[in-house]
């Protein structure tokens, strides 16, 4: 690989973001961009080349489903893999997210090993 892959994390909880970051950092050398709301993600996307998006569903301003819907109707972002990271209570919303085109979902508290495996699979092509 020539350039580092960029992972975008959208979650309004700084602690949750920190946990995601440390999980990803343990896996390998990625560029990680964090945002705390859907708006920030929308703002950032045109400026950054993002290779993978991890998003929460419950966020201020626009939620994760709305973000996914936007990504999947926009040719520039259509092919970016999206993982939903949300909790058990949002099962129905997670189902919807999958219909909208999310690639994977993880239930909080998520299993770090599973997240790492999924990231490797989507970004490096190795399970």
């Amino acid at each position: 690989m020539s350039a580092k892959k960029t992972i975008l994390i959208a979650d309004d909880s700084p602690t949750m973001r920190a946990m995601l970051v440390s999980t990803i950092e343990m896996l390998g050398d990625f560029r990680i961009v964090e945002v705390s709301s859907g708006f920030d993600a929308l703002r950032l996307l045109p400026r950054e080349k993002v290779d993978l998006i991890l998003t929460d569903i419950n966020m201020p301003d626009i939620n994760g489903l709305e973000l996914i819907s936007y990504l999947r109707t926009n040719s520039n972002y259509l092919s970016i893999p999206v993982f939903i990271i949300s909790s058990e209570g949002s099962r129905k919303d997670i189902e919807k997210g999958k219909l909208l085109g999310a690639n994977e979902y993880l239930i909080k508290p998520f299993d770090p090993a599973r997240l790492q495996a999924l990231i490797s699979y989507y970004l490096c092509g190795t399970p």
Binding site: D12, S13, P14, T15, M16, A18, M19, S22, T23, S36, G38, F39, D40, L42, R43, P46, I57, N58, D61, I62, N63, L65, E66, L67, I68, S69, Y70, T73, N74, N76, S87, G89, S90, K92, D93, K96, L99, L100, K108, P109, F110, P112
Partner: protein, 703 residues
């Protein structure tokens, strides 16, 4: 614990966030309860509370705090049912939610010190929550009317379960459903969108906001806002001057057969209204929505500011700021030694270089002052943060006691050192609890004595010189001074009632174990007396004063220094020892001889203008011995906090200096009259005197 290895730092981060979430949950719950009292509901508020519980659960789960996770999970559950309209919000449920929140708060607080097993408590709370989960009889028709609404699939597909519920609820309330299409530039969309949302919120409910592709993807972004309102289409369109905003009616309540809310129009046709020319429409817009224009202009600033403050704040450990402040303090000391060198050089004949060095030192001094000010400002937070927490507690207590209390806060933006704010939170809360518990009368009694049924508590804060004053004023019953005097007599504190002035009587209130109420109530009588309040305030070099009028109310006046971190001090010497006195509490100093001192009731006093001023000798106060002879002429430094004055006898005044107070640690806390130590810069360490504590102690011994 999770296998990510929960480091201490991570736990700290978790705690900081969890505390914030819990705090916000509490004030939102109080708002919710208030609204419910008035028979209102606010879906947005409810959703925000749900989100709070939801994120707390997720966090606690990741960190393996199963207690917190379990409790917040159950709260989230019931809040979810509430927001989805599966159950109704009643007084019983509000009480359960408050209870759960209280337990949650205490669980979060006890994370750091692994305490007693709370499993039973949590289990009890959870079962109370679950008891409320019984749903009311099914009233929703099974078939979702959403499909028949003819909403674009793209919008429906991205609705969360909650948003779907809100849409249905709006339909059931016979509101029109609109799609507001907007287009913004990518650089400013959030502020502009917030403006639009704010305007919309004044006349209906924003159900969802879906971003979509704009005409030019690189520069623009479009949004479809799903919006429910009773207003007609023309009225809404008139709200927006911007031609990029197109309001479309998706479902109009008027088009339905009367009476049946759930039956929906069979044709999901779009009734579209092209944006109307703003000028042409302006007169009717002014009639229909005279507030619209002002709403837009006033929200634009706020929106810009709030979105900025959200993304532009940094959370910093106060310890780091302390370190920074220490470094600044050391720089100040380094500067004074440079100035000292300049003076020595001049004396030794290097006048040219000395002038240059003095100049350089002056520049350094100015910049140091700026730096010091900057660091100080970072530590300052608005007193308003305390108020939020307090208003929650006040409303809760008032509710519990069946009293009606109206709260007003004045000067919430007055700033105080973060550490001081933390330390006065408890005492302030205690004073306010007291005001409700003992001050404000029951609504019945208030009406019978011609007062408004609602009692008022006013908490105001303002800056006064180098101090911040916080006043808590209630219009309750006042403190019964006769009762206080009788109690003092009964406790053997005084020989006869006639000899006690009202002023003295108020001082008794701050004595340990002094309480006039015979039966201890649940609220303020938790074994914590006013003495603890006054000690806690004295610990941050503050002072508390009371004014009271029987039947009219009580005023507590708390005077606090703005910061404790770095202060100007008067350096004094007494009996061969050097001390620092915070300059903010020094009123004046007098040069006296023994002849000026009189003795009243075996206590030394001097006559200062019309007042008799009690004196304090440091060697007696600290029980140290004097190796040198007392000077014939000596100084009395008059110190005071709030309305209290005391003269401290010192041998000499050595000058003024900026000092950084360093804490002596827990083990020295019990020594009255010392607030810390400071470095003088010439390798001498001196004690910093705590004026508030000394005054308190002297007054106490005096009785």
């Amino acid at each position: 614990m999770s296998d990510q290895g929960t480091s201490h730092k991570a736990v700290k981060e978790f705690l900081a966030e969890a505390e914030e979430v819990v705090e916000q949950l509490g004030s939102e719950l109080a708002d919710l309860a208030d609204l419910a009292d008035g028979g209102e509901q606010n879906p947005e508020l409810l959703n925000s509370i749900f989100r709070g519980a939801h994120s707390l659960k997720g966090l606690a789960g990741m960190f393996g705090f199963s207690d917190i996770s379990e409790l917040s999970h159950n709260m989230e559950n019931i809040l979810d049912s509430l927001r989805l309209g599966k159950i109704n919000l009643g007084q019983g449920l509000i009480k359960v939610l408050f209870g759960a929140h209280e337990l949650l708060t205490s669980l979060v607080r006890s994370v750091e010190h692994a305490g007693a097993d709370r499993t039973d408590e949590i289990a009890a709370c959870v079962s109370r929550i679950n008891a409320c989960l019984v749903p009311p009889p099914e009233k929703q028709p099974a078939a979702s009317p959403l499909q028949r609404l003819g909403l674009p699939e793209r919008i429906i597909g991205a609705l969360t379960e909650y948003e779907e519920h809100r849409l249905l609820d709006n339909l059931n309330r016979d509101r029109n459903i609109y799609n507001v299409h907007t287009s913004f530039e990518l650089t400013t969309f959030d502020e502009e969108l917030a403006q639009v949302s704010d305007v919309l919120k004044t006349c209906g409910e924003v159900i969802s906001t879906l971003p979509s592709m704009g005409g030019n993807m690189e520069t623009h972004i479009d949004f479809e806002i799903l919006f429910g309102s009773t207003r007609p289409l023309a009225g809404l369109q008139a709200l927006f001057e911007n031609n990029d905003i197109v309001v479309t009616c998706l479902d109009s309540a008027g088009s339905k057969p009367a009476g049946t809310a759930s039956s929906l129009p069979s044709a999901g046709g779009f009734i579209e209204s092209r944006p109307v020319d703003a000028v042409q429409q302006s007169s009717s817009a002014a009639l229909e929505a005279p507030w619209a224009a002002t709403a837009v202009s006033s929200t634009s600033d706020d929106a810009a500011r709030s979105s900025k403050s959200m993304s532009r704040t940094v959370r910093v450990d106060i310890g780091k700021l302390d370190e920074l402040m220490n470094i600044v303090g050391e720089l100040v000391l380094a500067h004074s030694s440079i100035s000292g060198i300049a003076v020595r050089m001049r004396n030794e004949g290097f006048s040219c270089m000395s002038i240059d060095l003095s100049k350089a030192a002056k520049v350094l001094e100015r910049k140091l002052t700026d730096l010091q000010k900057g660091v100080m400002e970072i530590r300052m937070i608005p007193v308003g943060q305390l108020y939020e927490k307090m208003s929650r507690v006040i409303r809760k207590i008032a509710r519990e006691q069946g009293k009606k209390v109206e709260l007003t806060f004045i000067g919430a933006d007055t700033e105080l050192d973060k550490l001081i704010i933390e330390d006065i939170s408890d005492p302030l809360m205690h004073i306010v609890r007291n005001a409700i518990d003992h001050g404000i009368e029951s609504p019945g009694k208030r009406t019978s004595i011609g007062k408004d049924e609602k009692g008022t508590i006013r908490i105001s804060s303002y800056q006064k010189g180098n101090h911040v004053v916080i006043e808590v004023v209630d219009d309750g019953n006042g403190i019964d001074l006769d009762k206080v005097k009788a109690k003092a007599l009964q406790k053997g504190l005084v020989a006869d009632i006639a000899s006690i002035s009202d002023r003295d009587a108020l001082d008794f209130i701050f004595m340990p174990g002094f309480s006039t109420t015979d039966n201890v109530s649940d609220v303020s009588g938790r074994g914590v007396g006013m003495d603890v309040v006054s000690n806690n305030i004295a610990a941050v070099s503050g002072m508390v004063d009371i004014e009271t009028a029987k039947g009219q109310g009580t005023r507590f006046i708390i005077t606090l220094p703005i910061t404790l971190a770095i202060i100007k001090a008067l350096i004094i010497s007494s009996a061969g020892r050097i001390y620092a006195l915070p300059i903010t509490s020094v009123m004046e100093s007098l040069l006296l001889t023994d002849a000026d001192i009189r003795t009243v009731e075996r206590k030394e006093v001097i006559q200062l203008r019309e007042q008799t001023l009690p004196l304090l000798r440091l060697e007696a106060f600290f029980s140290t011995t004097r190796s040198t002879e007392r000077p014939r002429e000596f100084y009395v430094v008059v110190v005071g906090v709030a309305e209290k004055r005391l003269g401290i006898v010192v041998d000499d005044l050595l000058g003024q200096q900026d000092i950084v107070i360093k804490s002596l640690g827990e083990s020295f806390k019990r020594f009255m009259g010392i607030s810390g130590a400071a470095d003088l810069g010439d390798q001498r360490t001196i004690l910093v005197l705590d004026v508030g504590g000394m005054i308190n102690e002297t007054m106490r011994v005096g009785h």
